[in-house]
C-alpha cells in the first residue's frame, strides 16, 4: 500500500506545483505551502512504510511483462534518506528563495526528481528500473539548470553523461532480457548464476558503468563539479547529498543482490585481479584525487562538491571490500555523508544569503555575525573530516578496519591520505569563511531566518546523535547486509565489540566531554579575561584599523600549491573533455558538407541509393 503512496504522492505534487506555475509570481506563499504539505506527506509515507515482502505493485504491462514495484530493506533505507533530505531542502528553500518567481518550477522539478528516485529505488524489474532511471536523469537535469548562467551550460554537460549512461544501461537491460528471458530481478539473479563468463562480464560491465557514472567515480566524474557548484545553493545541498548516491544504490543492487559477489569475484584473471579489485582501485582514486583538487578551489560550493566526489569514493571503497565491516562502513557512510555535506552546504547557503558571495578569498570573520551558521559548519566539517564524536568517524573506522584487516594496506593508506586532504581543505573552508578579520563591508550581517535555521539545527542534532549512538542506523545496515548475502555486522547501540579491536562511541564521547569540563575548570582557574576588538592584534608595532588588510585567505596552502601546481593544471579530465568537444565539432563539420540544402543533391542521393539496392538484390537473386 505504501509503495503506491510513495509513487503517486510526488506525481500529485509535481502536477499541483506545475499547475500553480501561473500564480507563482504573485502568490509565492501558496506554492511554498503546497510544496511543504506535499513533502511532509511523502516523509510521513516513507516513515510509516516498512519493508513489505508481499504486495508488489503491478504497473501496466510493457513488452510482455508488468512493471512491478516493491519495497525491500535496501530500498526503504534509500527512500527514508530521500524523503528526509527533500523535506529539509524544502524547509530551507522556503527561507532561501526570497525574490518571488526567481525559480518558478523549483518545487515542481523537485517533486519530479523525488518521483524518479523513488521509482528507481522501488523498481523490482529491469524495465521499470530503466524507465525510472531515465525519468530521474531528466528530472536531475531540470533541477540542476536552475541557478546562475553557467548552471545551464553545466547542466548540459551532465545531460551528455546521463544520456551516455542511459544508453549503456539500455544495452545491459536488453542483453540480460535476451539471455535470461525476463526482466524480473529474482528470475535474472537465479538464471545468471549458470551463465558462462563472457555474457556475465559484458552484462555486468554494461550495467555497472552507468552506475559508476551516476555516482561520479573517478574517470567519469567530470560532470559533477561544474554542475553542482553553479546551481542554486539549496539544490547543491540536495544533489550532493542524495542524487549521486542513487548510483551507489545501483552498485549495491546489481553487484550484491542480483549478480551476487561470488559471480563478480569470478569475473577476472585471478583472485587478486578481478572486477572487485578494479572497483577497489577506482574507489581509492576517487577518494584521494578529488580531495586534493578541493584544496585549490577558491569557491566554497566547488570545494564541497569536490568533496562529495571524494566521499563517494569512500562509500565504494567500503562496498568493494565485500567484508562485513567494509559493506557496513560503506552503507553507513551513505547516511553520514548525506547528513554532514548537506549541513555544510546549508551553512554556506546561509552565508551566501547574507553576504551574497561564496568566494573564499573575499569572506572572513563571520563567526561573530552568524554564530549558528558557524556551528553548523563546525559540526559538518568535523563529520566530513571523520573526527569523533561525529558520525563521519564511525563509518570511516569501519572502512579502515576492513581495509587493514582485509589485507589491503596501500588502499588503506590511500584512504588515510584522502582523510588528511579532507582535513586540510575543510579547515580552509571554515577558516576563510568564519575566522580571521571581519571585512568592513560585512559589519551589519545578521543571522538567517527561522526557515533556514531549522534544517541546520536538525542536521546538527542528527550528525551528533548518530555519531554517539551509531547503533540507530546500524540496525538497518545489518538488515540490508542480509539481503546482500553478506554476514550482518554484530553491532551494539554505541559501536562494535570484536576480538580485533572495538569501538564504543558513547564512552569516547563521555570521556571527551568530561575531559573538556576538566579543561574548562583549569581554564577558569586562570585570571579574568576580556574580549578585545579584532584590531587589537600583534602587527609588529603597526597600528591596525579597518582599512589595513590583515587577513590570510589567498593561497592558503602555498607549500602544497608549490609542489602540486603543475599536476593540478594538467587535470586529465578537463583535457579529455576538451578534446572530445573538439572531436565532435570536427565530425560535425564533415557531416554538414553532405546536407548542402539544394534539392538536386538530395535527388542524386535517391538515385544512387536505388542503384545500390538493385545491385544488392541482383546479387542476391
Amino acid at each position: 500500500m505504501y509503495t503506491q503512496a510513495l509513487l503517486f504522492l510526488p506525481l500529485i505534487g509535481f502536477g499541483l506545483s506545475a499547475l500553480l506555475l501561473g500564480t507563482a509570481r504573485r502568490h509565492q506563499a501558496i506554492l511554498k505551502t503546497v510544496a511543504l504539505i506535499g513533502f511532509l506527506a511523502i516523509a510521513a509515507a516513507a516513515a510509516l512504510a516498512g519493508p513489505e515482502t508481499g504486495s508488489l505493485l503491478q504497473g501496466p504491462t510493457l513488452f510482455g511483462s508488468p512493471l512491478t514495484f516493491g519495497l525491500t530493506d535496501l530500498s526503504w533505507y534509500f527512500v527514508l534518506m530521500v524523503a528526509g533530505i527533500s523535506l529539509l531542502t524544502v524547509f530551507f528553500s522556503i527561507g532561501a528563495l526570497r525574490e518571488s518567481g526567481s525559480y518558478p518550477m523549483y518545487y515542481a522539478w523537485l517533486f519530479a526528481k523525488v518521483f524518479g528516485m523513488f521509482g528507481v529505488v522501488l523498481a523490482r524489474d529491469l524495465l521499470s528500473f530503466f524507465i525510472m532511471w531515465e525519468i530521474m536523469s531528466w528530472a536531475t537535469y531540470f533541477v540542476m539548470q536552475q541557478g546562475r548562467q553557467e548552471a545551464k551550460t553545466a547542466a548540459l554537460g551532465y545531460l551528455v553523461y546521463a544520456i551516455v549512461a542511459g544508453m549503456v544501461l539500455l544495452g545491459g537491460v536488453i542483453m540480460l532480457k535476451q539471455s535470461t528471458g525476463s526482466f524480473d530481478f529474482d528470475v535474472i539473479s537465479k538464471a545468471i548464476k549458470g551463465y558462462d563468463l563472457a555474457t556475465t562480464v559484458v552484462a555486468l560491465v554494461l550495467i555497472l558503468v552507468p552506475m559508476l557514472i551516476e555516482s561520479a567515480v573517478y574517470p567519469m566524474h567530470g560532470w559533477l563539479p561544474d554542475s553542482y557548484a553553479s546551481t542554486e545553493t539549496s539544490i547543491t545541498a540536495y544533489l550532493s547529498s542524495i542524487s549521486t548516491r542513487i548510483g551507489v544504490y545501483g552498485v549495491v543492487l546489481f553487484v550484491f543482490v542480483i549478480f551476487g559477489i561470488k559471480v563478480v569475484d569470478s569475473v577476472g584473471f585471478s583472485s587478486h585481479l578481478n572486477l572487485r579489485s578494479i572497483l577497489l582501485v577506482l574507489a581509492a582514486l576517487t577518494a584521494v584525487l578529488p580531495t586534493y583538487t578541493a584544496l585549490f578551489q577558491h569557491d566554497a560550493k566547488r570545494l564541497v562538491t569536490w568533496h562529495s566526489i571524494g566521499q563517494g569514493g569512500y562509500m565504494l571503497l567500503g562496498l568493494a571490500t565485500a567484508s562485513t565491516l567494509g559493506t557496513a562502513g560503506g552503507l553507513f557512510h551513505i547516511f553520514n555523508h548525506l547528513t554532514y555535506v548537506s549541513l555544510i552546504v546549508f551553512s554556506i547557503a546561509a552565508v551566501e544569503y547574507r553576504t551574497g558571495t561564496t568566494n573564499l578569498n573575499k569572506l572572513g570573520g563571520l563567526i561573530t555575525r552568524q554564530p549558528l551558521a558557524f556551528l553548523g559548519m563546525l559540526f559538518g566539517i568535523i563529520g566530513l573530516a571523520g573526527i569523533p564524536p561525529m558520525n563521519g568517524f564511525v563509518s570511516k573506522w569501519f572502512i579502515y578496519r576492513s581495509l587493514i584487516l582485509g589485507g589491503y594496506p596501500f588502499i588503506a593508506l590511500a584512504a588515510f591520505i584522502a582523510t588528511v586532504g579532507t582535513i586540510m581543505s575543510v579547515y580552509k573552508l571554515i577558516h576563510n569563511m568564519f575566522l580571521g578579520q571581519l571585512p568592513e563591508r560585512y559589519n551589519d550581517v545578521k543571522e538567517v531566518g527561522f526557515w533556514m535555521q531549522v534544517p541546520i539545527l536538525i542536521l546538527m542534532a542528527v550528525v551528533l546523535l548518530t555519531g554517539v549512538f551509531p547503533g540507530l542506523i546500524l540496525q538497518w545496515v545489518a538488515r540490508i547486509q542480509t539481503i546482500m548475502g553478506v554476514a550482518p555486522i554484530a553491532y551494539t547501540l554505541s559501536g562494535v565489540q570484536s576480538s580485533a579491536g572495538d569501538l564504543n562511541m558513547a564512552v569516547v564521547t563521555i570521556v571527551f566531554i568530561s575531559c573538556i569540563v576538566v579543561a574548562a575548570i583549569i581554564f577558569l582557574i586562570g585570571g579574568k579575561r576580556r574580549i578585545v576588538s579584532q584590531y587589537d592584534n600583534y602587527a609588529a608595532g603597526h597600528f591596525l584599523n579597518k582599512d589595513v588588510p590583515y587577513n590570510f585567505n589567498y593561497h592558503f596552502y602555498s607549500a602544497f600549491e608549490h609542489i602540486f601546481d603543475p599536476l593540478y593544471q594538467a587535470a586529465p579530465v578537463k583535457t579529455t573533455e576538451r578534446n572530445l568537444g573538439r572531436l565532435v565539432r570536427i565530425t560535425g563539420d564533415y557531416i554538414r558538407r553532405f546536407f548542402t540544402g539544394q534539392i538536386n543533391t538530395y535527388a542524386a542521393y535517391y538515385v544512387a541509393a536505388i542503384i545500390v539496392v538493385l545491385v544488392i538484390l541482383k546479387g542476391v537473386l
Binding site: G527, K528, R530, V532, D536, G541, F543
Partner: protein, 195 residues
C-alpha cells in the same frame, strides 16, 4: 595604596610570587644600541636562562619589556602600543642612560628624555650600554622585587593613566591602541571602583 599592598599579602600570594619569579619572558624592543648586549647574555657566555629568563617574540607572551636605548617620538608611539598589548603583570626595564635622562642625546629635539613619564618603569639598568653582568644583576634584582611583591609598577599605569596619557599627548598627540586603559583598570579590578 602601595604600602597596604605590601603588608597584607596572603601566604598563597607569597608562594605564587616565589614560583612566578622563576619564569620571566623578555621582549627586547631594540630601539637603540643596547640590543647588541643581549646575545651574550642569552647564550653560553652568561646564560640568563639559568634564571628562567627567555627571549620571547610577541608582546602577548612577554612579561618584561626591555627598552634598549634612546627613544625617538616616533618609536615611543610603537612602544606604548606594545606595552598596552602586553598581559599584566608586566615590567618595563629601561636599559642604559638614554632611557634614564636622555643619555648622549640629551639635547636632541626628537628623543624623549625620561621614559618613566610615559610608561611606569620597573627598573633602570644604568650604563652606556650596561654589560651582560649588569643586565644579569639587574634581572636578579627584579626577581627579588617580584618575590617580595614590590614589582607593581604596572598597576601605576592603570591608576594614574591621566598623568601618563597627558604626557603622551603632549609629545605626539593621540594614537588609537584599541585599549580603553581606565575601563580595563575597572574591569580587571586593578583600580578599586571607589577611586
Amino acid at each position: 595604596m602601595a604600602e597596604k599592598e605590601l603588608t597584607q599579602r596572603s601566604a598563597w600570594d607569597k608562594v605564587l610570587a616565589n614560583l612566578r619569579k622563576r619564569s620571566l619572558w623578555m621582549l627586547h624592543y631594540c630601539t637603540g644600541c643596547g640590543a647588541v648586549e643581549l646575545p651574550p647574555t642569552m647564550t653560553s657566555r652568561f646564560d640568563m636562562e639559568r634564571f628562567g629568563i627567555m627571549p620571547m617574540v610577541t608582546p602577548r607572551q612577554a612579561d618584561i619589556l626591555l627598552i634598549t636605548g634612546y627613544l625617538s617620538v616616533k618609536t615611543l608611539k610603537r612602544v606604548i602600543l606594545i606595552y598596552e598589548q602586553m598581559v599584566a603583570p608586566k615590567y618595563v626595564v629601561g636599559f642604559g642612560s638614554c632611557t634614564i635622562n636622555g643619555g648622549m642625546y640629551w639635547n636632541s629635539y626628537t628623543t624623549i628624555k625620561a621614559l618613566d613619564r610615559y610608561l611606569p618603569v620597573e627598573m633602570y639598568l644604568a650604563g652606556c650600554m650596561p654589560r651582560p653582568e649588569a643586565i644579569i644583576t639587574g634581572f636578579n634584582a627584579l626577581i627579588d622585587k617580584i618575590a617580595k611583591g614590590e614589582a607593581n609598577s604596572w598597576k601605576d599605569y592603570y591608576e594614574n593613566y591621566e598623568f601618563y596619557h597627558k604626557n603622551q599627548q603632549h609629545v605626539f598627540g593621540d594614537i588609537e591602541t584599541h585599549h580603553d586603559v581606565t575601563d580595563d583598570g575597572k574591569y580587571f579590578r586593578v583600580v578599586e571602583a571607589t577611586r
